[in-house]
């Protein structure tokens, strides 16, 4: 056994050492694999970044209430009376001032995107107790808006992507003018891509009377959700659907994430095929060029399994080199790249940063190794099957 391992080791080291003699072909194969890995990581980092921006794993103790049949906050609507009933439901956390619920409005305004200079749909959210309910909103610049005044705070991502959201600047929406008084971080979901203001000021500005679109509620415990949900859905005065914030966010982002991941995996698969053919060619010519050496080794007593493994290992080493370079290049080029896109399901912009995550890098390396293994297998078998006498005479 140890003799066998020693054979493999000796052969692999020998093979790898001869790579510099076949620079052209080896580099081409490695670059092919690097390309596959770079594209794979690049495209999927968009999906990962988007998922992170939507914070799909929302806190378990925040519930959302929409009108039944609504597929997003945009298409939902709740009257004042319904909002009151929801706030009084069991399971809602309370403070000295009353239940911790926030009735909210969600509308879209047009702002200019910095990178393109064109109009984009930016979500504007009117909240009542939005900051208290979410609990993790931090004002990173300026101050919070004062209730009853035309003041807004902008999410960090929104302030970065869209023009005119610096603290102190004014924005005109319809016939009213609003002052940006602060920048905030946190808030869960895509909140950082949004602009927040007092719902009571937003209602008249958008002809909404005293209606809202959604209610966010902080629950006493994550387990109180079922009780909260049951009491609302069985109440004949309400036609609502109740879901956890995390569920809602996952629903809202599923289409785009699936689409990007689908394209990413498809393109990477096709490229991997192309790179596989390249690797096969490289390894076949490597084996063909060394036919006589391999025959000599066989004549000296090296086993065919050892030869197969050593050729495959050589190919895997090449693949790892290429994959490593590709992954590093993708990380350097894409990680943290800031962008904003329209989430088709909410019809509004989400600011996000490409995220090259460790699992993504690991998956990319697995692809590279896979190409290396398959690219080496068949040439290795051919090498081992060469008739010794004939190859020696060549």
């Amino acid at each position: 056994m140890s003799n066998w391992l020693a054979q493999i080791w000796a052969l692999t080291v020998y093979n790898v050492r001869t790579i510099p003699q076949r620079k052209g072909a080896a580099v081409a194969a490695a670059v092919g694999i690097a390309g596959v890995v770079a594209v794979f990581v690049g495209v999927l980092s968009i999906a990962e970044g988007f998922r992170a921006a939507m914070a799909v794993t929302g806190p378990a103790d925040i519930a959302m209430v929409l009108r039944s049949g609504a597929d997003s906050e945009m298409t939902s609507g709740l009257g004042r009376e319904q909002v009151r009933l929801i706030a009084d439901a069991p399971g809602v956390a309370r403070t000295a001032e009353g239940p911790l619920t926030s009735a909210e409005l969600f509308v879209i305004i047009n702002l200019v995107k910095r990178s393109t200079g064109t109009d984009v749909n930016v979500p504007l959210r009117g909240v009542t107790q939005g900051i208290a309910v979410r609990g993790d909103v931090k004002i990173v610049e300026g101050r919070a808006f004062e209730p009853g005044r035309n003041e807004v705070i902008a999410g960090r991502g929104a302030a970065r992507e869209f023009a005119g959201l610096e603290v102190g600047s004014r924005m005109e929406v319809g016939q009213s003018e609003w002052t940006v008084v602060g920048i905030f971080a946190g808030g869960g979901g895509s909140a950082e891509s949004e602009i927040w203001t007092d719902a009571a000021v937003l209602q008249p500005a958008f002809h909404r009377g005293d209606s809202y679109q959604s209610v966010y509620a902080r629950l006493t415990t994550p387990e109180a959700f079922e009780q909260f949900k049951d009491s609302l859905t069985t109440n004949p005065q309400l036609q609502v659907k109740v879901l956890r914030q995390g569920e809602y966010l996952a629903e809202q982002s599923s289409m785009l994430i699936e689409f990007i991941s689908g394209i990413g995996v498809f393109v990477a698969t096709m490229m991997a095929l192309g790179a596989l053919f390249g690797a096969l060619n490289t390894m076949y010519s490597a084996v063909a060029a060394r036919a006589r050496e391999i025959a000599t080794l066989r004549a000296l007593g090296f086993g065919s399994a050892a030869i197969i493994l050593s050729v495959m290992l050589e190919s895997v080493v090449l693949a790892l080199l290429g994959g490593g370079v590709g992954a590093a290049a993708a990380y350097w080029a894409f990680n943290g790249f800031e962008a904003a896109t329209m989430n088709w399901q909410t019809f509004s912009q989400v600011a996000f940063a490409f995220a090259v995550t460790p699992p993504l890098l690991a998956a990319a390396i697995v692809w590279a190794v896979g190409i290396g293994v398959f690219g080496g297998l068949f040439p290795a078998i051919r090498a081992a099957r060469l008739p010794v006498a004939m190859a020696l005479r060549e």
Partner: protein, 385 residues
């Protein structure tokens, strides 16, 4: 012609290598074709936008409504031929968001007159005018759900619940085709009067207007006149040419063109580098033989041509097969109709692909061929690779 046999036997000398190279070229061009179709799916709207059409929406954003009374007021503005209201219905079929398709309420006759690229047979048009619950659906949509004329389709709308609180019922009275390949036929249009009488609230409100101007040259000026007409009213408008509107919409998604171009260049760079390297290697290996041919009296130019034809044949076979299969796949329609309603391979992309095929064949063959040509016969004969 008499050298075809020579080229053929050169291609056959390492069958495995030839077929692997062919396959990787095939994959590269297949991917090229499909990515071009995806790009076209995102941008077709701009090229097809009517130059004589304006989109008029609420100044604050597209989700805000405008009153239906604005239509006649717009039509009185000089330069405006017609103004047609649209209401986004957001119909949901069988309570399944994955079944998404565009549903809009419009007045039938003015709509068909405005969007002449939606081709509807005359009898179906009459049926639509005579049926209040009638709806017309695009060819792509009809094929997607296997709907036919006479079917009754229940849809719910999260935006517009009807007075009875149940689903809205629509009768398919017509199926329209697109006048050109890029026309979106994945949507459904039904009658505005049906919506307006049935909806629980929001009577008299529409989403946006499509307006035809008499002179495309004056489109920008007319847009300005429309906005001025409604300035300082509770519903201020933003009018812009349809092309600009569609472009703005696409830019919201991000720079699709740059992203796809980046992917395409990465694909081409890597796969073609690999394939090109193999092809070049195949020629380098034969330097000795090329020396023999020269010794036999073959001229430099002829040798160069022979090598170039060989690499050209490889590129052409692999590349054309790839483009062909991409064309076949796209001809079968969109694999994700909800995301990419328009999906086809434009002729322009096919031509670019053809150009790339020739460029690849030339680039892979020319360097080693030139090297071999310049090599003195004696040296080439002595060289063993």
């Amino acid at each position: 012609m008499r050298f075809l046999g020579l080229i053929w036997s050169n291609l056959k000398r390492r069958k495995l290598r030839t077929s692997l190279t062919l396959l990787s070229i095939f994959v590269a061009f297949l991917l090229f074709g499909l990515l071009c179709a995806i790009k076209e799916a995102f941008t077709a709207g701009i090229t097809l936008a009517g130059v004589d059409r304006l989109i008029v929406r609420h100044k604050v954003s597209l989700i805000m409504d405008l009153p239906v009374t604005y239509g006649p007021r717009m039509e009185r503005i000089p330069g405006v031929v017609s103004a047609v209201p649209f209401v986004w219905f957001n119909g949901i079929y069988q309570n399944e968001p994955k079944n998404f398709f565009a549903t809009m309420a419009v007045p039938p006759a003015p709509f068909l007159d405005l969007y002449r690229e939606c081709v509807l047979p005359e009898d179906q048009k009459q049926a639509w005018l005579n049926t209040r619950t009638g709806a017309i659906i695009g060819r792509t949509l009809a094929e997607r759900f296997k709907w036919k004329i006479g079917d009754r389709i229940p849809l719910t709308s999260p935006i517009w619940p009807n007075k009875e609180g149940g689903a809205w019922e629509f009768d398919v009275v017509g199926i329209f085709d697109g006048a050109n390949k890029g026309t979106d036929t994945s949507g459904m249009y039904f009658r505005y009067d049906y919506l307006d009488e049935g909806r629980a609230y929001g009577e008299g409100l529409v989403g946006w207007y499509g307006a035809r101007v008499s002179d495309p040259e004056q489109a920008a000026a007319v847009a300005k006149a429309i906005d001025a007409e409604f300035a300082n009213s509770p519903y201020e408008t933003k009018a812009e040419p349809e092309g600009a509107f569609v472009q703005g919409f696409i830019q919201q998604i991000g720079n699709i063109k740059t992203i796809l171009l980046a992917i395409l260049s990465a694909v081409f760079f890597t796969i073609l580098l690999v394939a090109g390297n193999t092809m070049a290697q195949a020629v380098r290996e034969r330097t000795e033989e090329l020396g023999v041919l020269k010794a036999l009296g073959f001229r430099d130019g002829l040798l160069l041509a022979l090598v170039l034809v060989e690499s050209g044949v490889m590129a052409a076979v692999g590349g054309l097969a790839g483009l062909g299969v991409a064309w076949l796949i796209t001809a079968r329609g969109s694999p994700v109709p909800a995301m990419l309603p328009v999906f086809y391979l434009p002729t322009r992309s096919l031509l670019i692909g053809l150009g790339l095929v020739f460029a690849l064949g030339f680039a892979a063959g020319v360097l080693p061929a030139l090297q071999a040509m310049r090599l003195p016969v004696a040296l080439a004969l002595r060289r063993h690779v």
